[in-house]
Symmetry: C2
Subunit: 191 residues, 2 copies
């Protein structure tokens, strides 16, 4: 029998007994969404962090001119939310929507904190995942500082293998902060 | 008596007894460095995460052309290291050096993990600090995506109050990924 994808991800960091994983899973709620559905609107409270079981979501920022910037994609086995609004219980400044029909496991902040308290190895898991996310963002910033769009493009291919076949080119360009023309040039350069 | 700055920072997130803080402090080693001293060279292992008690450090990336990009500053009450090399026990791709004489408390990964295991509220502290760092990096990326150098400049003023008086303008420009001329223009615009 295949291991549950959430259990598989947790067990890359800490081992769980069957009972412990059952306990973990009790803190999540299954939520399914349709393609194009908006899961979190700007100005709403971000009640959940979503673990993507199947499908594809994204986090977007609309700037003052109405231009859309893609902060993050979330496909299978990724966690996705407005991190600031979720953790600080503030109103969201970002938008979360679905690019495909998507199945998730959703975790509230209260459940995350309860899990962390009652099963400290889950806190070890959350700390390791957050640290990895922090390191990935540092790399993305270094690519911006060196103004190297080619590095950014290849980082994206490494970070999200398979993504490029699933989303329109305009969204990849938005994530990279480049024009469609630059993206087209980048996709012809070998790493 | 003034509270120890490390204790003050921890207690913004979790409360500690005197005995617990003594236990925490036993895991740190005092290390002092001179202005211009390089604490971590590219290619070295990052043995420590540094809590800055007094002074000013920075993390830099040298690109292939020898151009210097500043990823992070660390002044009083900041944590600073090559996060990837430190957490993954890999060779550093970044450089950490001192812009002023600097006093730190240094923590090894082994000590961080031991503290997290033996005093779970310290893991809660590390998780909250890392989450806050993750959120700050997301904001910096959004400023890059919207290509808004003015936002980046004002984010820097908020993130590091007082920094701008302590470092050369060229370093501020390097952190923001702008030219000296652009920085000069930005510093004349009111927020």
């Amino acid at each position: 029998m295949n291991k549950h994808p959430l259990r598989q991800q947790i067990e890359e960091i800490v081992k769980l007994t069957d009972d412990e994983f059952d306990f973990v899973l009790q803190h999540f709620r299954k939520k399914s969404f349709k393609k194009h559905q908006i899961i979190l609107h700007e100005g709403d409270y971000a009640q959940f962090d979503f673990f993507v079981v199947k499908g594809l979501m994204r986090v977007t920022k609309l700037d003052f001119d109405g231009k859309e910037h893609i902060l993050q994609f979330g496909m299978e086995n990724w966690w996705i939310t407005d991190a600031e609004a979720f953790h600080n219980k503030t109103k969201s400044t970002l938008i979360v929507d679905c690019l495909e029909n998507t199945e998730t496991l959703s975790l509230s902040l209260e459940s995350k904190e309860k899990l962390s308290r009652e099963l400290p190895k889950m806190q070890t898991f959350f700390l390791k995942k957050t640290t990895n996310g922090y390191i990935a963002l540092q790399k993305r910033i270094l690519c911006f500082l060196s103004s190297n769009a080619n590095d950014r493009y290849h980082n994206l291919l490494t970070l999200y293998p398979g993504l490029i076949q699933r989303v329109p080119k305009a969204m990849i360009a938005s994530y990279l902060g480049v024009t469609r023309e630059t993206l087209s040039r980048l996709s012809k350069i070998k790493a």
